[in-house]
Point group: C2
Chain length 346, copies 2
């Protein structure tokens, strides 16, 4: 490990090559106005000295850092990290660095310091990849006017004038329910995620509207609320069995809760899919090996991250090209049904 101090600077290279720092600068920035021989010589020296321009110094003079702030939460769960995976991939493609911040909780009021922290590091834009829960987005959305860089949101209710990229959870709920109806089910219950989550509300609404459209009832009696965990899924399922004994199918808002449903149903000798059709949401890797294998709704969170990052960079580039006013537009990615054994009547 070489001591921290000796960094090869543009000055060293210039001295060694017998030119001005400006010329070296021109070379590393591939400007045309350098004599071929000079360029050769300088490049050779750069190679030989292992010189690497300081992006920090560049950020300072160019008033642009090619660094993006990413705010996330819940990395201990698979969803957010898949999204992050997409974000890093796209950032790499576009040559941007990522400054990562994770909120300690989904709902925090320590937002202002966080924004300042990122701005102090001259980030070019912010990707807000935190699910919308209660009014946890209120402060950021409200402060948008005072944030001097573009902000793109992931997984949030569309709002006019704000760029948002999300999975179409409403459509997902609709597809899942329609699939069960197509199997001839008439009493489709729903186990929802926590209803302060926007995503949970959307999925529930999709279920409700699909039922309505089919002229079937979808009231509070036909729905129970969980908190995404298997344990909560178990409780919700038992509640539903009690309130809705004629239920012949259930759309569960995520695969973990659906797993609990399969587990309990099996214990109660309630046969899936014969006496109960089950559809989950997320398509986690394990769901194909549940017993029976789980029909579910696949959401491509990798793509979600990619699209959001692209959108953010688009806005940044637009600004740097002088177009201060790009239309903000929301993007909704469509989920897709993954049909397996748990829902299909033999």
């Amino acid at each position: 490990m070489i001591p921290h101090n000796r960094r090869v600077t543009i000055k060293h290279v210039a001295q060694e090559a017998g030119v001005s720092t400006q010329t070296v600068s021109r070379v590393i920035n591939e400007r045309p106005d350098v004599a071929p021989e000079t360029r050769q010589r300088v490049m050779a020296i750069i190679q030989q000295m292992g010189y690497q321009p300081s992006e920090l110094a560049r950020s300072l003079t160019q008033r642009r850092s090619y660094t993006l702030g990413v705010v996330t939460a819940g990395l201990q769960y698979i969803g957010p990290s898949r999204t992050l995976n997409g974000i890093t991939t796209k950032a790499e493609e576009l040559g941007y660095a990522l400054l990562l911040k994770e909120l300690p909780h989904y709902t925090t009021n320590e937002i202002r310091p966080l924004i300042k922290f990122m701005l102090a590091r001259h980030i070019d834009g912010i990707l807000w990849a935190v699910p919308e829960i209660g009014d946890n987005h209120a402060w950021v959305v409200g402060s948008l006017a005072s944030i001097p860089v573009p902000v793109v949101f992931i997984t949030m209710q569309a709002r006019p004038g704000i760029p948002v990229v999300s999975i179409d959870n409403y459509l997902g709920g609709m597809l899942a329910t329609q699939h069960l109806l197509e199997q001839g089910r008439r009493h489709v219950g729903h186990i929802a995620g926590p209803l302060d989550w926007w995503e949970a509300r959307q999925r529930k609404q999709g279920w409700q509207d699909a039922m309505m459209k089919a002229g079937l009832a979808a009231d509070d009696r036909h729905c129970a609320e969980g908190n995404w965990s298997s344990a909560s899924g178990e409780a919700a399922f038992k509640e539903l069995l009690e309130n809705y004994p004629e239920m012949d199918a259930v759309f569960v808002a995520n695969d973990q809760m659906a797993l609990a449903v399969l587990h309990i149903a099996s214990r109660l000798q309630k046969h899936v899919p014969q006496s109960l059709g089950v559809v989950g949401f997320d398509n986690i890797a394990e769901s194909a090996y549940f017993w029976p294998s789980l029909t579910t709704v696949n959401q491509n969170q990798h793509e979600l991250g990619r699209h959001a990052l692209q959108e953010l960079v688009n806005r940044i580039e637009a600004i740097h090209k002088g177009k201060e006013t790009t239309e903000a537009q929301s993007l909704l990615l469509s989920p897709e049904m993954i049909v397996r054994e748990s829902s299909v009547l033999p």
Copy 2:
């Protein structure tokens, strides 16, 4: 959104307060040598103007950025992201920013540009959080001497003189196997992860040594290799059933493959745990709701990330306090058994 240009600088504050920039600098750095009144006045102005010192400029002058480079891979899986979750938590606690880089594959030879990329941004240290597979760590380990900042590795074979933080996978394999032996099982097979992974080899070795110690056979015939996926677990299990018909228990190197074992066993009317004891590894959230619920080995990846980051910062602080030579030491975190239904005879 405020236009990109107008940033409040220390100069503006100084002007507004009628002092020099030095004085403002002293105030924001909480130096003692400022008159109380001056301090008051300056602080008021700072508040009022919403001034935030540029960490970029600071990094330049202080030759220290309070930013750490984190190199990860496989964020689409839950393990690496749980580790990252621990990393972000500890970084937040210690006041460090995180520059995140994800390798496109576990084994890449595009390492040098990546290191240069991070060094160009003046990171104070690097956390190498990529699992050791084949010789994918060779280049980094070999280049350590030419990397001017401390590097700490996560999940890698301990090497003298290099700081490494890992879960004790060998112990995990040992515990799992011993648990099965304590249940009276005598023919414990093993489904390993891909054996070019260091973790997979360690778990297998733990199984092997536990069997040896008990005077039981643990040869190639008693082991099959998977690739962590459920599908590969299915194939490996079938192979094992064929080669090792007297098998009465199996230690599976991760929960996803163990899920496939439960699935297939159920299909073959092979009763778990009566005719087959099963133990997994990882303790994923779903495992408690498998059917039967899965006994497994819990590894605390969050803590892993926390410890590694702490270790990295320790080394950085040591250097800045002038102690260039801190002893590099490895840290092994112990996993623990989570006993559930799949392994315990009634």
